[in-house]
Amino acid sequence: MKYKSQNVAKLYFIAAIGLFIGQILFGVTMGLQYVWGDFLFPAIPFNVARMVHTNLLIVWLLFGFMGSAYYLVPEESERELYAPWLAKLMFWIFLIAGAATIVGYLLFTYSDLAKLTMNDLLPTMGREFLEQPTITKIGIVVVVLAFLFNIGMTILTGRKTVVSLVLLTGLVGLAVFFLFSFYNPDNLFLDKYFWWWVVHLWVEGVWELIMASILAFVLIKITGVDREMIEKWLYIIIAMALISGLVGTGHHFFWIGSPDYWQWLGSIFSALEPIPFFMMTLFAFNVVNKRRREHPNKAATLWALGTAVMAFLGAGVWGFLHTLAPVNYYTHGTQITAAHGHMAFYGAYVMVVLTMISYAMPIMRGRTANNEIAQTLEMWSFWLMTVSMVFITLFLTGAGILQVYLQRYSESPLPFLVVQDKIALFYWLREIAGLVFLSGLLVYVYSFFAKGKEVGEIKEITT
């Protein structure tokens, strides 16, 4: 580790992994509730399990991004973090606020939680993914502003690199677009319209910048390839991500009451959203092939390449499947969306955070890479989680195709709940794949404690 203050990332990563475990536990719980509706009822009803599952995902990814930034930025800026104490303070505030919110979801009915947190004063609750009480949202804003100040001051007073500036742009975007979660108009159309400014412009806009810069950083470190080559790819990838992703928001505006032209704009631009992900795949493999050093952290290399491939499949291919307006007319809001959501979040954002953790955690624990056993276990967990996520996606896609046909396309369409019964087999299979994913996650956690033969140091390749 080059700078002492990078160590603050460790806290964030540990919290991220802890919340990740929670997310998956609630995931397998609600996976079972799909086919066994009364499971854990009334203690944890489906809607609560779902809310906790998705909210934990967002919160732990934010912990992961912040941890990644705290590790990456000092090294790129060639100076200590501007205020390490602030990073630690914000960590505890964010963790306590996040935990309190989840406990609130579990202990109170949602309407009571809204009353308790005085949602009436500034109503922002009750919308998918943005269910957090207003006070939590304000907390998120405070934490993110303090984080941006810390990161921004470090970058601006140190060496400026393309990687750190792209990261900063992405993080500023993350903060700015989150502000739309406070806009909660009575008009349902306007509500939905600006809701997507948070949801879409995060995951299909500014988060891609964060992802690309974290991936670029890790690739620079493990391959030793010229920064200049990586930077030019970064420029092209983010330009393409923004060109396709910003107007691509239109693919959410097809059926919410927006003007018709969104069907054209949304279809055309979002059809191009796979391109930056494809470029990222080409870029990652290209860079690893041209590596100038053999890094002993093989697991981190595997995660980095895995991220590129899975992000392209999950976000790119599975997104494209249902992004054209005539297709989306039938598929919107079905299990096709769930299939895409699972693989895209895992492939793009979960995996890029795990890539960073895989690279940085051993260094923060005083070694270049983990021992052989630990790395073997980590690679096992990679395959267990990735392959089971592929199966989760395939089963949900199967469920989705059947659902679309039976419920919306056939000569005599069936009601929603009748269809849900008919596709139960896919849900059972998805639940099994989910349990395999959980086992992969447990192997992953165990890999941090495994002891074994230490690996060598970085070997520069001389030609």
């Binding site: 092209i236 060109i243 055309i268 391109i275 100038r292």
Partner: protein, 194 residues
Amino acid sequence: MSNSTAIENEQRLLPGDLAIWFFIFAELLVFGIFFIVYSIQRLQHVELFNQYQATLNKETGAINTVLLITASYFVVRAVDAIKTNNISSCINWLYASLGMGTGFLILKSYEFYSKFSVGIGINTNDFYFFYISLTFFHFLHVILGMIIIFFVILFAKKGKYSAKEHTGIETAASYWHMVDLVWIVLFPLVYIIH
């Protein structure tokens, strides 16, 4: 070393940086899809498209075509100049191309203004939707092309380029030609053919 050799090999096939060609390809794909969709829509509503096409200002469109082609000629002269190590001439040609680009932006803004000021917008009808969104998207590309040229000028002033190493200038030139090429298709397609 193998890395830089590989990059040099790539440059023999295409002028400029290989990465920009991926970008150019992706951009042409976007415009290509847009043009195809336009053509299909036009086929289905020929009368409507012909009627409103007649309201477009062909003269400014034609002048803009000349401006962009001239700008392309100027960036070619800039690349020629750097090949003979004539840095100041190269910079001047690049400035001249920026001037042409600025002219394009002014005329196009005037065109947009004259449409918007009489209440025509993206919502008016299918033709205006395509006219405005296509030309505005291209407008943004002209700006991006000019930003790239501007940065290349800054780098050239710092002495980053020479007869031997001028990839950056070729990269900017390649991108500018793409912006030009798109307009050469867009102008007849949207303004002229009926």
